[in-house]
């Protein structure tokens, strides 16, 4: 009896799950945990601080930190209930500003704060160290957290402690910490999964683990449960626990993207139980898929192997021949896909960066095989993608900032131009002289009015018609004096003029109060006009100052634009570096897939040759295939 050496399914996947999965899950869990880091006190006395919190509580950390920066720029926060610095540390941590968060927690702790603030600060510091992968420092910080830790941190605190205990393989402590976490927390699922992976890594997995209940309340927990069962299934195959493996694979949901590896594993377990017929049926199901991803590729070879074990060499041969054709077709597809996914292309943006791209239609997405999906969810790749998305977002913001600045610049330039046109004919100093002169004249007039009022000079307050009469009387009196000096008799005229004078005097005295009031009224009116004039002058000078300020504002805009442009160039530089790394990784991926397909082709060809040799030596005749043409 001869044997074809087939690739074993157990090698790649469990190793993959052991190494990559915990990191992926960890990063996911930490992100979730970071989003929940919020203070509890809800009495806010400083409105602007409250605005920062409003954004923070909605998970908009960047706006929250911007609001915080504005408050700090304007002055101190007038708030007493919470330690705003601690909150800022939490915001910074959530926004990924680890260095800033670290500085803040250090500063808060050095300031000898109240016990509760201290506990929260140590928790923040521990969480930060944990997120940075500094397990020992994280452990040290968590050990300093006292009982007065805010309730909102309670579950996260025990979660991190449980994770650290798991890393140290201290299962007793892990269980203690896990039991402290609220029952309704999704954190339990992640811990259970990581615990399971730890067991697999330690070759300590037993079939009793199958009895544990995995939460399946949402898409995330369902995916996590599927991953747990898949990891268990492959580990049970390694342990030759085929029934346990089958039980595990059966738990995986039908619409899971892990269904294909599950089907392959299920088939292998049946194969190992010598149930070749059933195994073949499963392999056949998988092998009939249109694309030839890694699992389909393995299933084709396994299907041929199962047929061979069943003694059906012809079918086995046919499967292998079809397989070779399919592998080659897939190699060609991969070449097309590699071109489609070249850095900067529409499909690259749509699939790799998960951005909207109009030129990449859906059929191109069908190219994507499971191994690529796995690679995209690999921690290294997803970290780069996340970094790239962050830099892209930041670049967009810089662009928006520049656009805003450009609008303001246009607005100010227009304002400056209009103002300069209006002010070009006005000399502010001449205007000031005129206003001052008018004010001085008004003051002189007011003092003369006061003087006339005090000395009861009724003539001073005469209205215009009476003043004309008064002038006529004075003129007549002068004329009479002249005539009298020339020796003429003006006695009668003098008597009449005297009567007129006395009558005029009576009338003036009689109307003195009215006339004074009237004069005062005119003065008030004059004051009003003068004050309006002064106000207009002030507005004008303010306008002139504003025009001068526009220059300053325009220069501030220039300065800001320069800063933004420099940051944009920095972000472009980072983008280039990440994309270069991306490109290298994609190239390596396609190279590896081509290599795997080549290997499968070689394995298939070898199997065909061996089968033909074996049949020849046994005197049977199998159809001879020209492998060279394939």
């Amino acid at each position: 009896m001869w044997r074809i050496r087939l690739t074993r399914p157990k090698t790649l996947l469990p190793r993959y799950f052991r190494t990559v999965l915990p990191i992926v899950l960890l990063s996911c869990v930490l992100t979730c945990a970071a989003a929940d880091d919020k203070p509890n006190d809800n009495t806010i006395s400083d409105l602007d601080y409250g605005v920062a919190l409003f954004h923070y509580y909605q998970g908009d950390h960047q706006t929250a930190l911007t609001e915080f920066a504005i408050i700090e720029h304007k002055g101190d926060i007038q708030h007493q209930g919470l330690s705003p610095q601690l909150v800022k540390g939490g915001m910074s941590l959530s926004y990924g500003l680890y260095d800033q968060a670290n500085e803040i927690f250090d500063r808060v702790l050095k300031a000898q704060p109240a016990e509760k603030v201290k506990a929260d600060a140590w928790f923040g510091s521990g969480k930060l160290q944990y997120l940075e992968g500094n397990w020992r420092e994280a452990q040290t910080a968590f050990e300093r957290v006292s009982d007065v830790l805010s309730d909102s941190h309670h579950d996260d605190f025990y979660y991190f402690q449980a994770q650290l205990a798991l890393k140290e393989q201290d299962i007793e402590r892990y269980k203690q910490f896990k039991s402290q976490i609220s029952d309704d927390q999704p954190l339990h699922s992640y811990l259970s999964h990581n615990y399971l992976l730890q067991k697999i890594a330690n070759d300590d997995l037993s079939s009793s683990e199958l009895s544990q209940e995995f939460s399946r309340i949402d898409a995330q927990s369902i995916a996590l449960a599927d991953r747990s069962y898949l990891a268990m299934g492959y580990d049970f195959i390694e342990q030759s626990e085929q029934h346990a493996a089958i039980t595990a694979f059966k738990q995986i949901t039908l619409d899971s993207y892990l269904f294909e590896p599950a089907l392959l594993g299920y088939g292998w377990a049946l194969n190992n139980l010598a149930q070749y017929g059933q195994a073949k049926s499963l392999f056949g199901q998988l092998a009939s898929r249109v694309d030839a991803n890694y699992y389909v590729q393995e299933a084709i070879l396994a299907d041929a192997y199962a047929s061979e074990l069943l003694g059906d060499f012809e079918t086995s041969l046919a499967i292998l021949q079809l397989g070779i054709t399919k592998f080659k077709q897939h190699q060609n597809s991969l070449e097309v896909m590699e071109q489609r996914l070249s850095v900067g292309s529409a499909c690259y943006r749509a699939i790799i960066l998960q951005q909207v791209a109009v030129n990449c239609d859906e059929k191109h997405q069908a190219f994507i095989d499971l191994a690529l999906i796995e690679m995209l969810s690999d921690s290294q790749f997803s970290t780069k993608r996340e970094q790239l998305q962050q830099v892209n977002d930041l670049s967009q913001q810089f662009k928006q900032q520049l656009e805003k600045l450009h609008t303001y610049q246009q607005m100010l330039t227009e304002k400056q131009r209009t103002a300069q046109t209006r002010l070009s004919d006005i000399k502010l100093s001449d205007l000031k002289g005129q206003v001052d002169n008018l004010s001085a004249k008004r003051d002189l007039l007011a003092s003369r009015i006061d003087e006339a009022k005090r000395s009861k000079r009724s003539v001073f307050f005469l209205p215009q018609p009476l003043l004309a009469r008064h002038d006529k009387i004075t003129q007549a009196s002068t004329k009479l004096e002249n005539l009298k000096s020339k020796g003429q008799n003006v006695e009668v005229a003098e008597q009449r003029l005297d009567l007129i004078k006395r009558m005029f005097g009576w009338e003036s005295d009689y109307n003195f109060t009215v006339n004074v009031h009237q004069t005062q009224h005119f003065l008030t009116q004059l004051d009003q006009h003068l004050s309006e004039l002064k106000m207009m002058y002030q507005q004008l000078s303010q306008h002139v100052n504003e025009v001068a300020n526009i220059d300053r504002e325009l220069s501030a805009i220039d300065d800001l634009s320069r800063r933004i442009t420099s940051q944009m160039s920095q972000s472009n530089n980072i983008t280039e570096r990440i994309e270069q790394a991306f490109s290298q990784q994609l190239t390596a991926y396609f190279k590896q897939r081509q290599h795997e397909l080549n290997r499968s082709i070689v394995v298939a060809k070898l199997a065909i040759i061996r089968m033909q040799d074996a049949s020849f030596s046994q005197g049977e005749q199998l159809p001879v295939t020209d492998l060279g043409s394939q």
Binding site: Q58, Q62, G96, Q387, K404, L560
Partner: protein, 168 residues
């Protein structure tokens, strides 16, 4: 064997270099993020100077104290008969208000002198009934910026929501 050891050393070195590069990019991204915040702050201050100078600025804030008897849906804000904003709330925003966050509902300009601010709140009140609350207040605007807080609270004695406009 020699090849395996060499490959192992290479992969370790490559892994370390890769981690270093990732760390370095992370640091640079952090620096970019800090710059974005700093630029946003400077831009906001410039914007405030240009568009909402102190002598004409009016800001209206919304805060919630407990809010047990009232589930806020929308606020309609009127200044001197001008409907300046009509804001619909999401669950996330309501939760943020309940935790103590304060929303800057409106930022605008008014001339110096007296102004009437009216706010109408719509939502669900006690016994899950549709509820409408309103308040009007006249405020005098001077050279300083005018800040008004719309405070939603609870009257435990009356088992009813309360609402007031406060100058801050």
């Amino acid at each position: 064997m020699k090849f395996t050891v060499a490959a192992l050393i290479f992969s370790l070195l490559f892994g370390a270099a890769h981690a270093q590069e990732r760390q370095s990019i992370n640091k640079e991204i952090q620096a970019l993020k800090r710059q974005v915040i700093s630029l946003n702050r400077d831009l906001y201050i410039l914007e405030e100077d240009l568009l909402f100078p102190t002598n004409t600025q009016v800001a209206v804030y919304v805060s919630m104290d407990i809010g047990k008897y009232f589930e806020l849906d929308a606020i309609e804000l009127t200044i001197d008969d001008d409907n300046v904003t009509h804001y619909l709330y999401t669950q996330k925003q309501i939760a943020a208000l309940e935790k103590g966050g304060v929303q800057r509902l409106y930022l605008g300009n008014v001339s110096q002198g007296e102004h009437q601010i009216t706010a109408i709140l719509r939502g669900t009140g006690p016994n899950k009934r549709e509820y409408k609350l309103g308040a009007t207040q006249t405020f005098k605007k001077d050279k300083k910026s005018l800040s008004v807080e719309l405070k939603i609270g609870d009257s435990v004695a009356k088992e009813q929501p309360t609402f007031e406009l406060i100058r801050r």
